[in-house]
Amino acid sequence: MHNKNSDLFDVRLDNVSKIFGKQYAVRDLTLSIYKGEFFTLLGPSGSGKSTVLRMIAGFEEPTSGVIYLGGEDVTHVSPNRRPTSTVFQNYALFPHMNVAKNVEFGLMVRGIPKSQRSKQVSEMLEVVQLGDKAERNVRTLSGGEQQRVALARSIITQPTVLLLDESLGALDEKLRKEMQSELKRLQREVGITFLYVTHVQEEALSMSDRIGILAAGRLEQVGTPEDIYYRPRTRFVADFIGGANLLTGIGRRVDDHRVEVRIGEMKLHVDQASATIHEGNEVVICIRPEKISLGPAAVGMENQMAGSIEAELFKGVAYQYQVRLSIGHQIRAQVPARIEGSEVLVGWNSSDAIIVE
């Protein structure tokens, strides 16, 4: 069946579920990924993100639902007939082949003539900056080099979608940072849709055009990194991304764009036009640690209360404090300068707090 949105989307999952045994690994997942997009599926381990990737690659068949690639229904198509290519978590390079042979594999099985193959391989190796390592045994390469071989091996087959399964997970911190920008560069250069799967939120935020957050096999939220970070829709997303402070209280709509949340004696205000608040119901508000001010900086802010500092953590660009609020709750605040003393004023603006589900 030809899908009418095929011009817009490279990947479309329509109500896809996967059951292992009696357990839902993925449940009723509907997701569209635009052509040329860098899309990241972000979720903790066990959230089903790898299963989604494996279903798109064709290694797992969905229990129900339909998967479209480039407008074609591929739900029951075997992996070798799909226009996808996977960069595996451990790279899965062929250990008995050198770098060039690994990269050549996809072309070889397509029956492309030898001369054309070697030309394409050397071009590809230049793109990933491994031109001088063509004859090297893949076992003797560093982690970053192996990763680039895996990328070259996949990209050379010109897939519609490149699937990356926690592909930076095995690299050390510095190399991972380098590969993040390398991946972005490659993606712009080759113009292929990237679907990246990871549990590292910082990777997702820095590389993606859009992020989908998975929890327990369900899609919690899809949006740009800014959307996800500043406008989390659910408690889970708020907490998973950047470890937001969550406070639960009783809600009441004040006017069109303001909500009042009462926690004990304390009344807090949140600017929120969209959320429907049933008077007297419990609501959860979310405030990012870096949106909270301490000491003199908190003077004049719309929400204020007293707090005492319980712990200090120097983070390089900022100081992070654990603060016990007068209403009894503990929050985290991230401020640019060191705070003297332990009893401080804590404050934030109503526009910096949001209500989450």
């Binding site: 070798n80 250990p95 893949v138 076992r139 939120q201 969550l246 406070l247």
Partner: protein, 304 residues
Amino acid sequence: MPVKLQSFSHSGAILRNARVSIGRRRDLGVLPASLFMALFAVIPLLLVFLWSFYQRHGLWMAPPITLENYEVITSTDRLPVILRTIRVAVVTTGIALVIAFPAAYFFAYVANLRAKVILLAAFTVPFIVSPLIRLFALRAMLGRTGIVNLIAMGLGITREPIGWLLFTDFSIYLGLLASYLPFSLFPIWLALEGIDRRLFEASADLGGKQWHTFVYVLFPLALPGIFTASMFMFVSIMGEMAASLILAGAGKVLIGNMLLNVIDTANFPLASAISSLVILFMVFLIAAGEVFFRISSLFTPFNR
């Protein structure tokens, strides 16, 4: 409901291979085995090679150095036995690999744990019986009044008892296979078990059809196991005596039987010369394997 405050911190856990050492001098552990092999395997081998140039002297042997023993081998009917044994070893090893590979594949990729245990038992339990007893049982089965002929005649496949079942090349091959098949099965099985399954997925993912995956990924990675299996089979058959003694007819002896006869007549220099030829042939095989297939590279461990 109290305010719940949570903080997740996801530091990407980096899994690294940790090399754990037991004590500081890890290298000392290899010493007992090396000493044992040097004393009781390498030195006797060198002695045998030296003795092959000695002459008979009473019931033992002594210099002068001579090539006489090697001349005796080439000028008598010793050489055909050696060549015949090599042929039998090559053919049996070939048949064993053809049978063992699909079985090993089944063990590694198809069978569930229960099936594996049952099959493993089927392949190993017969080996608690002495090989001599097993071979005699085989002889009883294959004889003119054995169970195979009885069934064949009972089913009307043949009117007369089939004669070529016993005391022929057929019975030798059958006996050798019955004795050594597991030795070719297990190394291949282990090699297949050791292959990272994701490599097969990678092959399919890159567009490889099943036969591509088999020819370019599975088979090359199984080669160390196949080579080990071949060596086990080959070495065993080159030294085999029982199967030929019990199942082969007159004149169908193998090197092992011939050696025993020569040693019985106390002609140790000749026995040494025959053994030396066999050893040289094996060395030649391994060298050829190294030149053409780079066998040594197969033993370097694969990164997972």
